[in-house]
């Protein structure tokens, strides 16, 4: 007799859900160049001058090698945190370096916050749809995630209030709201200014902690800056930021702006998790922010994505069936498509891979099984011609799927 995993009886209960996934296996094909992948979430780092990045890295090692190659503190390097204060200022958020904790990308920030706040069974409220990585990070700590509907102006306060009231009516306490107010992943929309106030009022009334995740705020197609939730309610909002979309995801540099008591605990969790952030990447990021015209790069990223987003929307307009609708992204990296009711985007994925195009099925962005008729399309990585080609392939695919379903009377 052979069970192919000798560790089977030793895994923790939480590992039971870790099974092989056909969808994950299908994505192995999506990375091939023959496939037009609109599935990923990668920025186009070709915008950067790699020689300049190289010079910065060399400078760090030549002049600060002894500290860069050493352990650092759990809160992150003070010099980098000073520069991150400048990044926050560009988002109209005032903070002090001491209020920040540097993390391995925004993702680790979400993990540490989940570890700090979520007990099994706690209620976490999130936009529906919401960022798949946040759902995964939270899911490790076994909360109940309740989604709240969005529209073109983002999270709907009326829907949020209904959800909160229903949770309270069950004798439960909604613990926190997780939100991406700007150019949301995956929906592409932004929370309107009026709604920001309305949502914070609800947070106050229901004593709800808010986690504001803002990776895409600066990628605004009109180059506008929206008031952050943390600037409106600093005592109620914990803010997560990252350099992944304005510099490089390879730097794995994120950060949390939190009230002092939370900050102290995050430092302890960070130390328990990985001792400290890499001093090399922190030093490169610090010197990059200090010496380079990074706002110009952000503008270049944004202009590029806007052009690609326009190409995507234009092509969708002609290639997709009229019953499919798409959000009009305000910035960021993603468009969110609603397919005709009969089409299940997850079930259609193998057909897409065979047609050499990839997207992320909508169900990935819901913890409650929703999203079957949606797909997320990325416009930040492939160039406009590839995006158009990918959308054309998708359009044909959706039409083929519809005609098959119609033949079956669906």
């Amino acid at each position: 007799m052979s069970s192919s995993d000798p560790y089977l009886s030793r895994y923790a209960d939480r590992a039971k859900g870790m099974t092989a996934s056909e969808i994950r296996a299908l994505f192995a094909v999506a990375s091939r160049p023959e496939v037009v992948s609109l599935a990923g979430g990668m920025p186009d780092v070709d915008v950067l001058d790699f020689d300049e990045v190289g010079r910065v890295a060399a400078d760090v090692l030549a002049h600060h090698g002894a500290t860069a190659l050493q352990y650092g503190g759990g809160q992150g390097s003070p010099e980098l945190r000073e520069q991150l204060v400048g990044v926050l200022q560009a988002e109209h958020v005032s903070a002090r370096a001491d209020d920040l904790v540097v993390t391995t990308g925004g993702q680790q920030a979400l993990d540490l916050l989940a570890r700090l706040f979520i007990d099994p069974g706690d209620v976490v409220v999130a936009e529906g749809p919401s960022y798949v990585g946040a759902l995964s990070a939270f899911g490790q700590y076994e909360p109940q995630i309740v989604h709240v509907e969005m529209d073109a102006d983002g999270l709907q306060p009326v829907a949020l209030e209904e959800v909160l009231a229903a949770i309270v009516a069950q004798g439960r306490r909604p613990k926190m709201l997780y939100t991406i107010p700007n150019h949301q992943n995956p929906a592409g929309v932004s929370l309107s200014p009026q709604r920001r106030h309305a949502i914070l009022e609800l947070a106050e009334r229901y004593d709800l902690m808010v986690i504001e995740d803002n990776p895409y705020g600066m990628l605004d197609f009109k180059h506008e800056t929206r008031a952050s939730l943390v600037s409106l309610a600093p005592d109620r909002v914990i803010y997560v930021g990252t350099l992944s979309k304005i510099f490089s995801p390879g730097m794995r540099t994120g950060f949390v702006l939190a009230p002092r008591s939370v900050r102290d605990k995050l430092v302890l969790l960070k130390e328990a998790s990985d001792l400290c952030q890499s001093n090399v990447t922190q030093a490169i990021a610090e010197m990059w922010l200090r010496t380079q015209p990074w706002p110009d790069h952000v503008r270049a990223f944004t202009e590029l994505y806007r052009e690609r987003c326009d190409a995507m929307l234009e092509e969708i307009d002609t290639a997709f069936p009229p019953a499919a609708t798409v959000t009009a992204p305000t910035g960021g990296m993603f468009a969110w498509v609603r397919l005709p009711d009969s089409v299940d985007s997850g079930a259609m994925l193998p057909r897409a891979i065979n047609a050499r195009v990839a997207y992320v099925p909508g169900r990935a962005f819901y913890a409650d099984g929703g999203g079957h008729h949606h797909m997320r399309l990325n416009f930040s990585y492939a160039d406009s011609d590839r995006i158009r080609e990918g959308v054309r392939r998708l359009g044909k695919l959706i039409n083929d799927e519809l005609s098959l379903l119609q033949a079956f009377g669906r």
Partner: protein, 318 residues
């Protein structure tokens, strides 16, 4: 065996790319540990160039799915005269299409569950959706619906009530345009692996409910370590296993297979074997059936890879 230059061909563009890469990297490591010079080559438009540059003594095919198991790569390798493991292009093409292969077996008296095949074209262009109730009447429930081409249990669905047939067909058509509707045989799933014309001990698949599977040998059960328990050799009576092995060998010979192939079967309650499919590029991952069968025969993973390579070289020298 002397040190050889071996191209392990893995990956490709089929839906089973991930499984193929897992098989391929494991095979490459095993052959390297035997002192061979191994390169893992992906399947793309540069494959021929890479093979001609490398001039391997033999290519080990670790491909699964379309363009890997269907005879395409095999035909190409025959054309450029690179010896390779597994059945030749014709045998691969025959075994690849389940409806075609079942027809051959039926003609040669090899037991296989009753089936019909239905194409999405017939549904779309000939109005075949109207006759689906006849399928249920003629075949009798329960049924299994699967793409006629493809593996890894992708697109396989079970029909226990008549109104489920449509959904299962639609699901199958998303993987391939022709679906096989097969009578479901309740029983024990076994696999008989054949290496260098010799059958290995049959392996019996026992699903572990504790591992979160839904009761079928589906993709998750296949590739989640611990989701299944493999009994190698199978716990079934020796006479039953003998019968199953004879069926596997008969199919292997009728198909013209060689070097390495796996026969997947169901043994019903009466102990009768039914052949489901022949896999001419069997999986070689940590959870795969052939390595478990080899181990039961006293061959470790590296040894079975060596034997398959030796068989391929032997064919080439004849």
């Amino acid at each position: 065996m002397n040190s050889l230059r071996i191209a392990v061909i893995a990956g490709g563009l089929s839906l089973e790319r991930d499984v193929s890469l897992r098989s391929g990297t494991r095979i490459a490591a095993a052959l390297e540990s035997g002192g061979h010079r191994v390169s893992v080559l992906d399947v793309d438009q540069h494959l021929v160039d890479r093979l001609e540059d490398m001039t391997p003594d033999v290519a080990y095919l670790a491909l699964h799915g379309r363009m890997g198991e269907d005879g395409t790569v095999q035909g190409l390798l025959e054309l450029i005269e690179v010896p390779f493991t597994g059945p030749d292009a014709r045998a691969s093409a025959l075994a690849w299409d389940k409806a075609v292969a079942k027809g051959v077996w039926r003609r040669h008296g090899i037991p296989t569950p009753e089936w019909i095949s239905l194409s999405s074209d017939a549904i779309r262009d000939l109005g075949a959706a109207r006759v689906l109730p006849k399928v249920v009447t003629r075949m009798a429930l329960p049924l299994v619906v699967k793409p006629t081409q493809g593996g890894a249990s992708m697109g396989v669905g079970y029909v226990t009530a008549a109104d489920e047939l449509t959904d299962r067909l639609i699901g199958s058509f998303r993987y391939h345009t022709v679906a096989l509707v097969e009578r479901f045989i309740a029983g024990t799933e076994i696999a008989v692996s054949i290496v260098d014309d010799q059958p290995l001990p049959p392996v019996e698949i026992e699903l572990s409910q504790a591992a979160g599977t839904d009761g079928h040998y589906d993709f998750s059960a296949r590739y989640t370590p611990g989701a299944i328990t493999l009994h190698a050799p199978s716990r079934l009576p020796a006479s039953t296993l003998q019968k199953a092995t004879e069926v596997a060998m008969a199919a292997y010979e009728e198909c013209g297979a060689r070097h390495v192939t796996r026969a997947d079967m169901i043994i019903d309650g009466a102990g009768d074997p039914y052949l489901l499919e022949l896999d001419t590029c069997p999986g070689m991952t940590e959870t795969s059936l052939l390595p478990a069968a080899a181990e039961a025969a006293g061959l470790d993973f590296a040894a079975v890879c060596e034997r398959i390579v030796a068989a391929a070289l032997d064919s080439a020298s004849q």
